[in-house]
């Protein structure tokens, strides 16, 4: 029997992180930001049936950058676990914090397994706040959790960006974001940020209503807060 080579834990971690970073670097960005009536989610995505932003539960949505197949499995698992929890207890007991922990544990376990490749995705778990104090959750602010490939997560305020050029877009938002934006203004802000980073890129990706995916969690909706915006709606909002 041969003795296995010794590799330090730091080295293993670094290797995995480099590997994932190369994958994520190519991923197009997804932006989530607070606007007057809730949370707006915008992604660069020219496809019409494969989405990067999707509905998980009544008040919760999931956005992802990276490998679609890996995200897809987590998306469906999230819906399933949420529905089971809501069925067992009560719909209001399903929270973004709980779901984030679930994803975090899973992604962390995969990232640490010696025989598995870490997931090449980043997630944003978003939950729209409650303005109605009579619910069990009481008054609550919007919540955005950013989960990295290794399961480490952080709570973001007002807006969050994932994808290859997240840092550049975050810088733009830091400059131009303001509270209580109308939906159209919020959408314009994001598309302008996308245009700025695309103008710097070599292969110019044109930002039009057809090439972005837009969804929102809106306070005015009934039980299910998630809604996808049609291309027509996006065109109207941008004009």
């Amino acid at each position: 029997m041969s003795t296995p080579y010794y590799v330090s834990p730091e080295q293993i971690r670094q290797d995995k992180e480099d590997f994932v970073r190369r994958g994520i670097a190519q991923a197009k960005e997804v932006v989530v930001l607070e606007y007057r009536d809730g949370l707006l989610m915008v992604a660069e995505n020219p496809r019409k049936t494969t989405f990067k932003v999707s509905e998980i539960y009544d008040r919760i949505a999931l956005a992802a950058a990276g490998r679609i197949a890996e995200y897809e499995a987590l998306r469906v698992a999230g819906i399933r676990e949420s529905e089971i929890k809501g069925f067992r207890y009560y719909r209001e007991d399903v929270t973004a914090k709980w779901l984030t922990n679930l994803y975090s544990q899973h992604m962390g376990a995969v990232a640490q397994a010696w025989d598995a490749k870490p997931l090449e995705i980043e997630l944003l778990v978003c939950e729209i706040g409650t303005t109605d104090a009579s619910t069990s959750a009481g008054l609550q602010r919007n919540q955005i959790y950013h989960i990295a490939f290794d399961g480490i997560y952080s709570e973001e305020e007002k807006y969050a960006v994932i994808g290859g050029r997240a840092t550049t877009i975050t810088e733009i938002l830091e400059q131009d974001y303001s509270d209580e934006l109308e939906m159209s203004a919020a959408l314009q802000l994001v598309t302008e940020a996308f245009q700025t980073v695309e103008a710097e890129a070599e292969d110019d990706y044109e930002i039009t209503p057809e090439t972005i995916e837009v969804a929102c969690l809106e306070q005015t909706a009934a039980r299910r807060k998630f809604r996808r915006l049609s291309t027509d709606e996006v065109t109207t909002l941008l004009s």
Partner: protein, 264 residues
């Protein structure tokens, strides 16, 4: 921990059956051979009574009275028997109240789960067929006297009309073209609907005959609750159209009944 093995299935009922059978205590009862008949024992579950559906020009109305009985006693005065399922369908239930509500809830979750995982809504026909399986899975309890009978209605976006499906205790699924009513006062409600329903009936006329049918059911059947003008409890009515499912406000239902009473 997240289990990713279930990826392929959009069937929530299956997942619960395998992973959490304890959550399906009644709907998944294996004990169909038991000779215990709850109706003859001391166990007296709440029973829901009359629910109905009526097709009109532009959609379908679904309605139910609000009373649940416990033998010859009133068990509950404000029970809900009609539940919206997705944007274009609703389910109404009659029978043992506990399993009825469980079935309606599970059915609603199932349809929504399908929609979210697949990214498209389950067709109305698909929903009606799935409900058949749920009714059949309750057969064990039905044999013991805890029967659950749903009535299912929706607006078929492809065919551009309201549709009604009724079920028998073994899961048989039958479509009705114009109206149907089930539950202890179902027969009385059907008699009224039979006399008053016309093919191209308008929404307003349909609302009126629904109110009248439930009135007649309450009049003839002791288990069915009529409009309660003192406590302000009125039957629940929902319309299902291309635009979606909408509950008729209780004030409007009250007006319907005040109008009906003034004409008696």
């Amino acid at each position: 921990m997240l289990e990713l093995d279930d990826y392929g299935t959009s069937n929530f009922f299956q997942i619960l059956k395998r992973r959490h059978p304890e959550l399906l205590a009644t709907l998944n009862s294996p004990d169909s051979t038991s000779s215990v008949r709850t109706t003859e024992s001391s166990l007296r579950p709440y029973e829901g009574t009359t629910v109905l559906a009526v097709v009109y020009d532009g959609g379908v109305i679904m309605a139910g009275d609000r009373q649940a009985t416990e033998g010859y006693q009133v068990g509950e005065r404000r029970i809900q028997k009609v539940y919206p399922v997705d944007r274009h369908s609703a389910i109404a239930v009659a029978g043992a109240a506990g399993p009825c509500i469980e079935m309606a809830k599970l059915f609603q979750v199932e349809v929504e789960f399908y929609e979210k995982t697949e990214g498209v809504s389950l067709s109305l026909e698909g929903q009606a067929n799935f409900l058949s399986h749920l009714v059949r899975s309750n057969l064990g309890l039905a044999m013991q006297g805890l029967i659950v009978l749903p009535l299912f209605a929706g607006y078929d976006l492809k065919r551009q009309r309201g549709r009604i499906f009724k079920y028998d205790a073994v899961g048989g699924r039958y479509e009705e073209d114009d109206y149907y009513a089930i539950g202890s006062g179902g027969k009385d409600a059907r008699t009224t609907l039979k006399k008053r329903h016309t093919p191209e009936i308008t929404r307003q006329d349909a609302l009126e005959i629904v109110a009248e049918a439930l009135w007649d059911a309450a009049d003839e059947d002791i288990a069915t609750g009529g409009p309660d003008l003192i406590r302000k409890i009125f039957p629940t009515l929902y319309t299902i159209t291309e635009e979606g499912v909408a509950e008729i406000p209780q004030a409007t239902v009250e007006a319907l009944y005040r109008d009906l009473i003034s004409r008696l």
